[in-house]
């Protein structure tokens, strides 16, 4: 009989008998996914709160995307639990000295803020759609369905006067403002879960929440840029094929212009947050080496030896430095942006990997090592949910959800540029 974790852990030298890689791929996915949620929201708030006009189109897009990502954020933890059906206990009997116990409160308050912000932002669209469907004669079953949905979503408020819409705008601004600290808390708290584990020499640093927030914003912006480009490219492709006006856009050239302008602006913010994230990570590493506590010997052998490729080649090299140069080089193109954002996302993923898996790469005895071999081909439920396929399912889910959410809250509803 195998103990949990034994299947994918290879122990070397002196490791305590009960030590295994208990936090595996799904715990890598958890901070990665919440990071995307928080990052996308912060990006949208840059426009709503600070009035950065250039980000207007991106803001709406980012908010809806953040909403689609939100229900997926707790999924990796649920898949990781040994008793997933008891997951609700965290909300039923929260034990508040634990960082995880706050999850229910933080998650739902953040969800409420995003949901209400979207509602106020899309109220006019909801009312318009509901009224249009109400007036439509001989409704099909599909029309009936959509009418029911939009009618419910109005929450009985059909007032779309100039004055009411102005109030909506004000409320959106307040919600976006309140949302920034809450989004940062949602993710900083994920960093706190790791940073507060005093038993783990690699995780324990007060910088962890801040590092997590910065890399979260980086990954959120990168994903929004990537998805935005993809949707715009599809629109461009359709416009090209139909050779006709499509939705709010009038021509292929217009789509191209809008797309490029938005991407250029967003890329600047991406670079700023990238600098902040990398500086903090390097500060942490330098500090560890300089203070050289008892654990430094084993940590050094992991960072500079065993995990050198994962940390310096994949994370810092390919995931940070390469895209950084790509974005800084003059004459940014869409194609280069796509490659750059994919690399940035990969870099942030590798950072999560190196924190979660790297933190378990050495034994609590400081005299042994553990190696993680992720299960690829699932042979049972456990190797599925804590293996490659489970992680990929979690990664794909938000895009599927985004497709549905986009049907109700379309990202492009009005002329995007004045």
């Amino acid at each position: 009989m195998l103990a949990h974790g034994e299947l994918w852990t290879v122990k070397e030298l002196f490791v305590y008998p009960n030590e295994f890689i208990y936090w595996s791929i799904q715990i890598v996915m958890y901070p990665f996914m919440t990071g995307l949620v928080a990052g996308a929201f912060v990006l949208s708030s840059l426009y709503h709160v600070f009035g950065i006009k250039q980000l207007k189109d991106m803001a709406r897009f980012a908010l809806v995307f953040s909403f689609a990502l939100l229900p997926i954020a707790p999924l990796p933890i649920l898949l990781h639990l040994q008793s997933p059906f008891r997951g609700i206990n965290v909300i039923m009997t929260p034990h508040f000295t634990s960082a995880i116990a706050a999850f229910g409160i933080v998650f739902f308050s953040y969800g409420a803020i995003v949901a209400s912000e979207i509602w106020f932002l899309y109220r006019k669209h909801i009312v318009d759609s509901a009224l249009k469907l109400r007036e439509k004669k001989d409704k099909t079953l599909v029309d009936q369905f959509w009418y029911l949905i939009f009618c419910t979503l109005t929450l009985g408020s059909y007032d779309v006067s100039e004055e009411a819409l102005h109030t909506d705008e004000k409320i959106v601004k307040i919600l976006a403002g309140v949302g920034i600290p809450v989004a940062c808390f949602l993710h900083g708290y994920a960093g706190f879960i790791f940073g507060s584990v005093k038993a783990n020499a690699l995780w324990m640093t007060p910088l962890m929440p801040v590092i997590f927030i910065m890399s979260a914003i980086v990954s959120g912006i990168a994903l929004c840029m990537l998805t935005y480009i993809l949707t715009m490219e599809i629109k461009k492709f359709l416009a090209h094929r139909k050779k006709a006006a499509l939705g709010v856009f009038h021509s292929e050239a217009e789509i191209k212009g809008v797309e490029f302008h938005v991407i250029q602006m967003t890329a600047k913010y991406l670079i700023v947050f990238m600098i902040a994230a990398i500086s903090l990570e390097l500060l942490d590493m330098i500090f560890r080496g300089y203070t050289a506590l008892k654990s430094w010997d084993v940590i050094r052998s992991v960072i500079y030896g065993r995990d050198f490729n994962d940390i310096f080649i994949l994370q810092y090299g390919i995931g940070n430095l390469l895209p950084f140069i790509m974005f800084l080089m003059p004459g940014l193109t869409i194609r280069r942006t796509v490659v750059g954002t994919i690399l940035v996302l990969f870099g942030v993923f590798m950072m999560r990997w190196n924190v979660v898996i790297g933190g378990q790469a050495f034994s609590l005895s400081f005299a042994g090592y553990m190696h993680y071999h992720m299960p690829i081909i699932p042979t049972d439920w456990e190797t599925f949910k804590e293996g490659l396929f489970g992680a990929v399912s979690v990664g794909i889910a938000p895009f599927v959800l985004f497709w549905f959410v986009n049907k109700i809250f379309p990202v492009f509803i009005e002329a995007p540029s004045e």
Binding site: K11, N18, L81, Q82, T97, K198, S365, H373
Partner: protein
Amino acid sequence: MITRRDFLKKSVITAAGVALPLAAFEVLDPKKLMAQEAADTKNGTRWAFVVDTYKCVGCGLCVKACKLENEVPYDTSVTRTWVERYVITKDGKTHADTPKGGRDGFTTSKISLGMSEEAAPKDMMAKPETKPTEKFEDIDPNDITKAFFVPKLCNQCDNPPCVQVCPVGATYQTPDGVVLVDRTWCIGCGYCIMGCPYGVRFFHPVYHTAEKCTFCYHRITKGLKTACVQACPFGARQIGNLKDPNDPVTKIIMTERVSVLKAEYGTKPQVFYIGLDKEVR
């Protein structure tokens, strides 16, 4: 017709009116009550453990007894208690191992080096049959300067980090100081396993909940010794009540030079060691 303003006003007054008399009731904290109860009985109980490493020969009977008593599947590598072997050679190097947690005793002079990564599959798609092989190091007895065994178990800390991090309160400290896990409430997140600096926790292969040494709570509360204490032929393990000044364990802790493991984590461990070496991890 009642206006909105009136309605709100009256609601506030009603709420305040109801809240005031309710405030007269004192909310009873069950922990406080239990503490009082414990204080009332003349001598409270605080379970503590003493390990005399000079007496341990590494026979592994304690590990066997523990697994059988507490129904931790015998052939799994996880265990509530284990014995470590330390061999220090003339070059100043420390060699340590604990094959199967020391369950079958240390019958060979070869020291386990764990699984070697060189033999491990290079690509992750490789079949699981090509598992890495265990490597051993044979040490010349003439090179050994000192060697000893160290039994390990849960330290039943006074400031247990595992209890602090449990998100649902499924793991808790009893008033007499033992940390237990509620198998009906544990969600299996593994945060407590991560939070323990001693690596004593693991997932039970059958119940899929966090599992740990309980000082055989079901036995000690009935006046029996723990399974490992009873099984040890050399008296290397002892359990006792710290609040009883006449308890042999209390006497050892009060009069002899004892130390604890990893005091730097601030967990206030309650398993005391006699003859602990600086090389012990």
